[in-house]
């Protein structure tokens, strides 16, 4: 603890403040707000009621106005702290609002109506978590079906991505053949082609293959990524060729060299690509929306869009479900990041 604090609080200026210390602190604290603020806001807002979400000025924590049932009124009334003309404050319930004035009633004396200027009253608020934002969708929204679709697409696409890309990377890094660098260049060049350009031809291919309204139609077009090939190839270039020569002398077939030597040694790069692939596929929206038109095939991201209707956006459900969809990605990252940082324990080479 002492050492961690010393590490975090140490300054270039020693006891004083060097200007770089100030810039560093401003930069890091600003960064913390910019990066972490929205995530925090999302988390708290997902527990707000629709009314609290619409409130201005917005709050970070989910507050709700306290309600009270008053005799003679069917609906519960909202409770306010009111400053009376004589300077005393009292808790009153609002019956109705007319222009700049509000008709209020003391819950203890329901017969007596008091006219109050709206500026002299403040709602009584309390912290409350609207958990129905989370439970609601599970009941009237086919959450588990969408979740399963999303998991299926993500897991399958990631597995195939890792295998296909590592094979391409193996060939491009460990085999000498004519046109090797040209092939690599062409693969990298496809990075410059955005999805919107190839969307229509891709759609005709998927349609011709009969993969329309099929989860494989979402998976297959995404599995060969130039980024993945590039990451893995650069990593495989660092694996010494002598290891592969040694495996060849050890009677290993080319497949065994790939599967038993190169792939295990590429684990850190595979972990990076796996994280990328999971995040990409999990958050994919446009392509699944195009390919999937039957509701029971929707992935989570497409399914969530049904909460934003033409006239009405149910923000409270969208926020809550966004939090839920974030969880797997965060878990995958926490699980895989160990592989990135540890790398391979020993190299066996000098």
């Amino acid at each position: 603890m002492g050492r961690a604090a010393a590490f975090i609080l140490r300054r270039r200026g020693g006891k004083g403040w060097h200007w770089t210390d100030i810039v560093t602190w401003v930069w890091l604290i600003g960064g913390l707000f910019i990066m972490f603020g929205p995530a925090l806001w999302l988390m708290f807002s997902s527990f707000k009621t629709p009314a609290a979400l619409a409130e201005f000025p917005p709050s970070i924590l989910p507050y709700t106005s306290q309600q009270v049932s008053v005799e003679g009124h069917d609906k519960p009334l909202t409770l306010y702290d009111v400053t009376l003309p004589d300077g005393t404050t009292k808790k009153l319930a609002e019956v109705r609002r007319i222009g700049l004035f509000s008709q209020m009633v003391d819950p203890a004396k329901p017969d007596e109506t008091i006219r109050v200027n709206i500026n002299s009253r403040k709602p009584v608020q309390e912290l409350s978590f609207a958990t129905e934002n989370y439970t609601g969708p599970f009941v009237h929204f086919d959450f588990f079906r969408y979740l399963w679709n999303s998991v299926f697409v993500t897991v399958m696409a990631t597995l195939i991505t890792l295998i296909v890309n590592s094979m391409a990377a193996f060939a491009l890094s460990k085999y000498e053949f004519r046109g090797r660098s040209v092939a690599m260049l062409i693969i990298l060049a496809t990075l410059m082609v955005p999805l919107s350009v190839i969307m229509v031809p891709l759609y005709s291919i998927i349609s011709a293959l009969g993969l329309f309204n099929n989860l494989w139609g979402v998976i297959l077009p995404t599995v060969a990524t130039p980024t993945g090939v590039f990451i893995l190839r650069q990593y495989m270039l660092t694996i010494p060729d002598e290891l592969i020569d040694a495996a060849r002398m050890d009677k290993a077939s080319e497949w065994q060299i790939y599967w038993r030597i190169v792939l295990p040694l590429t684990a850190p790069a595979l972990a990076v690509l796996a994280i990328f692939s999971v995040v990409w596929r999990w958050n994919d929206f446009l392509w699944p929306l195009i390919v999937l038109s039957r509701k029971e095939l929707y992935t989570l991201q497409v399914g969530l869009s049904i909460y934003s209707g033409e006239l009405n956006v149910q923000w409270h459900f969208i926020l809550a479900m966004t939090v839920v969809t974030m969880i797997p990605v965060v878990l995958v990252f926490i699980f895989l990041q160990r592989f990135i940082t540890t790398g391979i324990a020993g190299t066996g080479l000098k």
Binding site: D245, M249, G346, T347, L349
Partner: protein, 357 residues
Amino acid sequence: MGQITLSNVKKSFGNIDVLHGINLDINDGELVVFVGPSGCGKSTLLRAIAGLEKITSGEIAIDGKPVNDVTAADRGLAMVFQSYALYPHMSVRQNLAFGLENSKMPKAEIDERITEAARMLEIEPYLARRPGQLSGGQRQRVAIGRAIVRRPVAFLLDEPLSNLDAELRVSTRAELAALHARLSSTMIYVTHDQVEAMTLADRIVVLRAGKIEQVGTPLELYNTPANRFVAGFIGAPHMNFLEGTVSSVQSGNLVVALADGYQLAIPARETSLEQGARITLGIRPQHVTFGSGDKSIKAKIKLVEALGSETVLHTEVAGQKFLVVIPGQHDLASGMDIDLSLSSAPIHLFDKDGHRI
């Protein structure tokens, strides 16, 4: 059996010729060392024999059968790499077993062979460890073990000691020699270190620029180097060369004039040298002694290296560098003039093209 025959083996990378027609017979059970300066093609030749490089022309035969079109895996050879090339993600046992599993050997036999090799190389305690957890010397043994368990026709070793520190190198060298005696299988050993070559080899093959300069036992190479290159390469410190011209040829005597007018009489063997021919004298630093007399030269000391058991003198003779190794300790300093006697030194003569006379 492990007889390897190379006939006119050529290899080029693009238009760069690396090997220019190598002819060599390696007998069964022989330890042959390929030695030469870096870039001479010795590693390429070894990789060609291993089957890791395709040769451009010529023929490689193992036990009389041409293997040009046989893959590295099926030539029945095992190789120890300079970097050891152990599989970092496998334990020592898995490293040893990998090649055997690939040839579909029964598990019991694999275990038996690993146990035997591990005992021979004293790596039994480390079988469960990964290469990263071993020291350099232990990794080296595992690399050799991986070759031994294969029971190959011949072992190919590519500078296996170059990654070890000096002390370990000496002890491992002795162990390798013992191992060769025990296994009595053919070994081809590549090194640029002529001391390793001298101590280990049954026969040494000296390579330069893709050509064989000389093949012979270590002492043959030391005593009768075929040319100036071999003479300079074998022996440490390297042989001294003095340039001169033949000033007179008499029966039984050859008088050579060095640059500064020194006249040196050498008992001549049968020679067809003519007066005025350019000639190089080769004298090993260890064969020079102090003393004046009829076969002596004057030298000026430039640097004294006192090693305790011997003293290395960097001197200048007739404007040319001349190394002297004298046993024992001597009170000498740079700048002094001394007389060196060559009366007990075998003098090697090389003609103007560097060939031995």
